[in-house]
Amino acid sequence: MVNQHSIPLYQALLQAYEERFSGSRASEPDAIHKLRQNAFHTFQELGFPTTKVEDWKYTNVIPFLRENYTLSTTPQATATELEQAHQAAAIPGMDCYTLVLHNGQLQPAVDTNQLPAFLKVISIEEAMQEPSFQKHFGKIVDAGKHHFAALNTAMFTGGLFLEIDANSHLDKPLHIIHTYSSADNLFTQPRNLFVVNRSASLSIIESVVAPGNGATVFVNGLTEVAVAENANVQHYTLQTANEQLRNLHHTEVSQKRDSVYSGYTFSLPSAQLLRNNLHINLDDEHTETHLYGLYLANSKQLVDNHTFMNHRFANCESNEVYKGVLLDNAVGVFNGKVYVHQDAQKTNAFQQNNNLLLSPKAVINSKPQLEIFADDVKCSHGTTIGQLSQEAMFYLQSRGIGEDAARAMLVTAFAFDVTENIRIPALEEHINKLITQHIPAKQELVNV
């Protein structure tokens, strides 16, 4: 058992809570104050998770927390920082609306004016009087169950509130750039709420970047997504931050009748720690959910994807495909749970996780789970761990394709089950390019 008090961050958090959040704040409604208070008590009870906690069995987060972090919010991003962020997150050839959040703070960007009137984008602090905020905030995620979700709920600062009106369709994808950089080690906890009203549809691309070589930034983020009846959301997350980033992100989605949610998570080099919790609650019948994930990790990266499909109602369909490529000393974790409640008859749930181990030191821990309480269901999962097929390599080489090119080709093909489902051509091309770029030449593979 780790003594929580031996972690300086724990002490700092207790102190910061006392100073900043324990009394009611003028800027926040009482309901939020109460929510913070309860969540903080939960966090004090739970503490930071050790590897004894089942959900953190393969991801020891404690060493990442041991450094000294400051908790103060950072000043406005400089023009250089914004420029760097745009560069790092650029997706060539993509036509989109762009927003930037620096260390969780929404930046006044030129683009906001061009957003259509039916789309509201404001900072989470500004949103607290919005009826949709009051209806959904803190009600989708159960902060009582998760260590970091509780901590985020208790002490979040910054983040984004996004709402699209009913029956509206956003013509271009919305590109949200989350950029992190700081001169001192920073612990930051942004909180987002996306509300997609009845019959609305949009595509969101969230890029997580940390350009430059600054100090360590530890992000404990949380996003709640409310998907109303008949709405359709495509939600892409692209993580390409530098080594200095440690990113825990919890996404909790609630889907209403006839809605479609497609979640895409691309974790690429080279943030030190990436942990994505993606929880989908199917809160009514006839919903459709697709989760696609691709993690390609190198150096000493630890990439951990936890998904939870919560089938509460009958006649829902879910489909999940996660592919992993592990290089160097990278450690990959996949934990996918499908939970079918007793009343969720006629559920159709599919889950697949495939992994390629391309280095002798790479590690993969895969834990697919099914918990089924209804009988009239079709549920299955599959996991594989393996290498590139020697025959396929030989075939390509015998056709005059160089070894490195052949390898990159096969890895891209391996990822195809995920990438082919990307609905934005420019993004698909960009991701395929990133995959190829990170597949090392043979020499490097041997020397690890």
């Binding site: 002798p360 834990k367 089924i372 269901v377 599959g382 996991t383 594989t384």
Partner: protein, 484 residues
């Protein structure tokens, strides 16, 4: 204690022995007072005339037990267990419950009839006094002579401690250490008896070894300990349990089974477990908390577990294989059927440590009524386990809308030459399949039995022949009344 005393002599011998440790108690001499403490362990050890090292080992197990806490990770609510209410030593004698078959529960007799069990065996199983010499005892004696010729040792573990202490001391606790888990520690401290098998170098055991014969003469214990050693180039197939419902007064069963396969040796271990599952509300059933583990120590060695689990209120066990030797292989075949309020949390753990190791896991779970059936398994590939290969398939079948089927596989790979595959499905019996069979004049109940047997065939095929036939009938009986 001589090794071939017949059971009556044994009982007399123990019953007439002086009560050594000064318990002031009114109960019979051959039963220790309830509760576990160092005195009780010394008492058990002394009764069995055990050497000092074994007593010390029991004490280490006791200390580990006292330090352990009850695990909380299992997928069911742990019943309250009062370890101090259990009596840890009872002389091995069969208690007779009834005077004649007429007094036995007619439902039980009906089950026997369906399984086709001979009358004499029925009596023994139900706990009826048998006057005549029971057939299988003489059969067992003939077997024993044949085995002796080949140098095979097959006896109770107490006997082995007396006769072959060097083998027991070398291997006992080498696969399941005394501090492995709370129930293994408890077993180490208080194990009553169990089987010991040693197959010498290059010997292929000509017959299936079965506890079934032994149990009738020696009496089974609540804390059984089984140790099987297959020396270089040997082969043995071992059967445990039987298909008939066993009457048993002990609610908690915490057995330990250790298998050791040396170079080129093979052990095949089959279990059919059909202990009392409790009434329809699940009251009074057996808790089957068993630690089973095999070590493939030698090169090219092989261990295979096959289990058919239909009984017990709670079945909680993970027969495991440690693949240490190069080119060794492990297999796990399981059918777990749960009905009413039964709970099964079972599966396997395979550790790939040597090079070119292979493993195969086939698990079929069938849940009916209000039961919960979980598969929990681990496939671990160590950093040095080059070219490890695993295939896992676990399927669940749900019959009725109040039961649950759960799958918790853990796959850990630290070597990039490993090939690991896992797949799991959960579904119910297709209405079209039942309709097809109905239409051919087969009623729904028989249709379900037919489909379930087909579903479990991959596992049942692994059982020795007579066992397989009985197991098929058993599946049908367990699922009776779960349709419609």
């Amino acid at each position: 204690m001589a090794n071939t005393v017949d059971s009556n002599e044994l009982i007399n011998e123990i019953a007439t022995k002086e009560y050594e440790f000064g318990f002031v108690t009114d109960i019979e001499m051959d039963v220790a007072p309830p509760g576990l403490n160092e005195d009780v362990i010394k008492f058990i050890s002394a009764k069995k005339e055990e050497p000092e090292w074994l007593l010390q080992w029991r004490m280490r197990g006791y200390k580990a037990f006292m330090k352990s806490e009850m695990p909380t990770w299992q997928n069911f609510e742990m019943p309250e267990l009062d370890f101090q209410a259990i009596s840890y030593y009872a002389a091995p004698k069969n208690k007779k419950k009834y005077e004649s078959l007429d007094e036995v529960d007619p439902e039980l007799l009906a089950t026997f009839a369906k399984l086709g069990i001979p009358l004499n065996e029925q009596k023994v199983l139900a706990g009826v006094a048998v006057d005549a010499v029971f057939d299988s005892i003489s059969v067992a004696t003939t077997y024993k002579e044949k085995l002796k010729e080949l140098g095979i040792i097959f006896c109770s573990i107490s006997e082995a401690v007396q006769e072959h202490p060097e083998l027991v001391q070398k291997y006992l606790g080498s696969v399941v250490p005394h501090s492995d888990n709370i129930f293994a520690s408890l077993n180490t401290a208080a194990f009553s008896d169990g089987s010991f098998v040693y197959i010498p170098k290059g010997v292929r055991c000509p017959m299936e070894l079965s506890t079934y014969f032994r149990i009738n003469t020696q009496g089974t214990g609540q804390f059984e300990r089984t140790l099987i050693i297959a020396d270089e180039g040997s082969y043995v197939s071992y059967l445990e349990g039987c298909t008939a419902p066993m009457r048993d007064e002990n609610q908690l069963h915490a057995a330990v089974v250790e298998l050791i396969a040396l170079d080129n040796a093979e052990i095949k271990y089959s279990t059919v477990q059909n202990w009392y599952p409790g009434d329809k509300e699940g009251k009074g059933g057996i808790y089957n908390f068993v630690t089973k583990r095999g070590a493939c120590r030698g090169v090219n060695s092989k261990i295979s577990w096959t289990q058919v689990e239909t009984g017990s209120a709670i079945t909680w066990k993970y027969p495991s294989v440690i693949l240490q030797g190069d080119n060794s292989s492990g297999e796990f075949y399981s059918v777990a059927v749960t009905g009413n309020r039964q709970i099964a949390d079972t599966g396997t753990k395979i550790y790939h440590l040597g090079r070119n190791t292979k493993s195969r896991i086939i698990s079929k779970g069938i849940s009916a009524g209000r039961s919960q059936n979980s598969y929990r398994g681990l496939v671990h590939v160590g950093a040095k386990a080059e070219n490890a290969r695993n295939f896992t398939q676990c399927d669940s079948l749900l019959i009725g809308d109040r039961c649950g089927a759960h799958t918790f596989p853990y796959i850990e790979t630290k070597n990039n030459t490993a090939m690991v595959e896992h797949e799991a499905t959960t579904s119910k019996i297709g209405e079209d399949q039942i309709f097809y069979l109905n239409q051919r004049g087969i009623d729904s109940e028989k249709a379900v039995a037919l489909i379930v047997n087909g579903y479990a065939k991959e596992v049942l095929n692994q059982l020795p022949m007579e066992f397989a036939v009985e197991a098929q009938k058993l599946l049908s009986i367990t699922l009776e009344g779960s349709v419609g």
